[in-house]
Amino acid sequence: MALRATHRDAGPSTVVDLSGKITLGEGSALLRKTVRGLLDEKRTHIVLNLADVDYIDSSGIGELVSAYTTVKNRGGDLKLLHLTKKVHDLLQLTKLYTVFEVYTEERAALNSFQQAAPPAGA
């Protein structure tokens, strides 16, 4: 299934709901476009909800890392929410589980931003 992405504001933070596959081609491109669009709108506190993402290849992993570093470089932060088992195992295998902040509750993910600095540009 092709990737779909919608986003919703939660106070100063934004939750991006993703569903489908993050793979080479359109999936990775849509994730990149979505995150860059949010940064253009000064939305720098981003939660990627991966509850309905059941497949990520190396290109998709690279895009997640790219999104993370791009947001960090803009003074923000990007966190992951609701990993499926396959995605969880893949992030553990690639040691990226130690890089990303991963949450199982949306409220906890959003609260984690409040304990940090306010969004860049806010």
Binding site: D57, S58, T94, K95
Partner: protein, 161 residues
């Protein structure tokens, strides 16, 4: 699927769509061979990564070059060959994606994933001058009682390699 060796091969265009096509083809073979869901996922992902490697690194995304995919099903294992028309590479020179300095790299995890997901993995010089990825997964035990999951031979290089 019987125990007679089977051989399939297909020549793919150097385009993104070939990645999905190759994965789907190999998944059908794997399912028919009796692999379970988890192994099918690992085989599919490995084929995907092999073809991405050929598409991007081997053929440099040049449409005049081809990607050659072959699948051999023996009584013991499923062997997959992915051959590109690039200039080849040395496996030992591929950076370790788990090294601290590479963790935030946006690429370079494909070889690592294939190695992790398959029972056998190698890269050999191909007949085209490019790299040939050769990887294999042992058949599930119920289809492979004679080996008891042990002692399978190394992945054989493709003809002409």
């Amino acid at each position: 699927m019987g125990t007679d060796p089977k051989h399939l091969e297909i020549t793919l265009e150097t385009q993104v769509e070939s990645v999905n096509l190759a994965e789907e083809m190999c998944l059908r073979v794997a399912e028919a061979a009796g692999f379970g869901e988890d192994d099918c996922y690992k085989i599919g992902m490995s084929v995907r990564e092999g073809v991405i490697n050929a598409f991007h690194y081997g053929n440099q995304e040049r449409p005049e070059k081809k990607i050659h995919l072959a699948v051999d099903l023996t009584g013991e294992k499923m062997i997959i060959h992915v051959l590109d028309e690039g200039t080849g590479f040395t496996l030992a020179n591929v950076p370790d994606p788990l090294a601290e300095e590479n963790l935030l790299s946006t690429s370079g995890r494909g070889i690592f994933l294939m190695r992790a997901f398959m029972d056998e993995f190698d890269v050999v010089p191909g007949r085209t001058g490019g790299a040939e990825i050769v990887m294999a997964k042992k058949l599930p035990l119920q289809n492979n009682p004679g080996t008891n999951g042990q002692g399978s031979q190394g992945a054989a290089p493709a003809q002409g390699a």
